[in-house]
Amino acid sequence: MKKITTLAALLLVLPAAWAGSEDTYAEFKAMMDRSFQTNGIAAKHRMYQLDFQKACSVEKQPSKQVMAQIEAAQLKTIRYPADGKYFGNWKEGEKIAVSGRGLTWTDQTPHNNGGGCYNCHQMSHHEVSYGTIGPSLLEYGKVRGNSDEIVKYTWGKIYNAKAFNACSNMPRNGDAEILTEQQIKHLMAFLFDPASPVNQK
């Protein structure tokens, strides 16, 4: 709640962060409001934006100042594992990375979601069907090593990608409750375990 109000204030101070006029925006909001309906778990209120989503709904990225403000607020949402254990089972992690399922109106529950990582990333040596919206993560652990710093950064990136790049295309898997803490642990193992096909041919 707090992060939303701070950013709202900043957006007021910097009207240039949103290019259109307020009249046009009001008209647009009314159009969106009458154009959508709830279907199953995809409730109509999904179309209402968080402040940072609004700030990032522009052709060009917002100013450095707005970006930094968003990143600082998003960084605070990250919950690191309570038991200090960052790694689960890479085999489970692979399944989560492969599955692009979840959160559409044809899904029955908002739980049991996939990570959809392969939609955007190359990850392992044997999966050739990968998307390119995100950078290649091939040999992630082998290349990056497993220092505390890189492990913590990677956890944070998966938990809330916006903490490191305000308008990232990557979802906030932890903060938006797309994945559970346990699922993120499995994904961490998939990225870092030397035996995982991410790091081994």
């Binding site: 259109g20 046009t24 925006y25 008209e27 647009f28 159009m31 969106m32 009458r34 154009s35 959508f36 309906q37 709830t38 279907n39 995809a42 409730a43 109509k44 209120h45 999904r46 179309m47 209402y48 934006q49 989503q53 609004k54 990032c56 709904s57 522009v58 052709e59 492969v98 692009g100 959160l103 559409t104 109106w105 044809t106 908002p110 392969y118 939609n119 955007c120 999966e127 050739v128 069907s129 990968y130 998307g131 390119t132 919206i133 916006k162 295309n169 979802p171 906030r172 938006a176 409750e177 797309i178």
Partner: protein
């Protein structure tokens, strides 16, 4: 006639079926898909739907027991040739910007007395929505090879373009996606699926100009409304109401961006 076509469709479907591609690289697979697309181009599986649509166009239906032969798609009553290449457009009689599907609904209502809500409420490929899809297949076949020619002079069109552009960049929902997340950069893919950059003339012409289309993987003919609906589903958005203003606004944005490009409809897609 039909048998060889069915066979190629089957081969293409098999090619695209699953993640179980052999060792061959992804580029090879994409080449294969493009080759099959070319092979299919002489015999379009949408022909069946188009034939059905042509018959429907000429059939007397509804409380007014009338055909659609006097329907005005923008070029005058009954003129189909080239009509969908110039849609969406502003229509004076309804005072609205309409795409092909909402314009067909207007004709069904005024000429035949059919309730537009029967179309809006029907499931995809069912009931009155299936009938509209067949009509769409017929109409767009008659614009194949034409140039996309959107009349952007009316202020209503300019307004819709502006609204459509805002909708294109509108990030929302649990995954923070907008259309631009998937269609806002050149040369990107989701899994093996190539994504056109819909912000550019070239990308929009390829993406807009090749819809509506026959989807080989589903064995179904999909209208543009159906395409947009499924992209909103993938976006994890709420569901856009059939023919709602947001769908018209996005269509104006895409079509105007594509202006001058070539129409290849009905398209053939994965």
């Amino acid at each position: 006639m039909l048998a060889p076509k069915k066979y190629t469709v089957f081969v293409l479907a098999a090619l695209l079926a699953g993640p179980a591609f052999s060792a061959s690289a992804s580029d090879k697979l994409l080449d294969g898909i493009n080759e099959y697309r070319e092979a299919l181009a002489d015999g379009n599986p949408s022909e069946l739907a188009a034939a059905e649509g042509e018959e429907l166009w000429k059939t007397k239906r509804g409380p007014k027991n009338s055909s659609l032969e006097r329907c005005d798609l923008g070029l005058g009553p009954g003129v189909i040739k080239g009509a969908s290449a110039q849609l969406p457009r502003f229509f004076k009689d309804t005072g609205k910007v309409q795409d092909l599907e909402t314009r067909l609904m207007t004709c069904m209502e005024t000429l035949q007395g059919l309730d537009p809500q029967a179309v809006v409420k029907a499931g995809w490929l069912k009931g009155e929505k299936e009938k509209v899809a067949a009509l769409v297949a017929y109409v767009v076949t008659e614009s194949n090879g034409h140039k996309i020619k959107i009349d952007m002079r009316p202020p209503e069109m300019k307004k819709m373009y502006e609204m459509g552009k805002l909708a294109f960049y509108h990030r929302a929902g649990p995954m923070d996606f907008s259309c631009a997340t998937c269609h806002g950069e050149q040369g990107k893919r989701i899994r093996m699926q190539e994504l056109p950059d819909l912000r550019t003339q070239e990308g929009a012409a390829a993406g807009w100009g090749s819809w509506p289309a026959y989807r080989v993987s589903a064995g179904q003919f999909w209208t543009m409304q159906h395409r947009l609906n499924d992209c909103y589903r993938q976006q994890r958005a709420a569901e856009p109401i059939y023919g709602a203003d947001v769908t018209i606004a996005l269509s104006v944005y895409l079509a105007a961006t594509a202006n001058g490009g070539k129409v290849v409809t009905p398209g053939i897609k994965r």
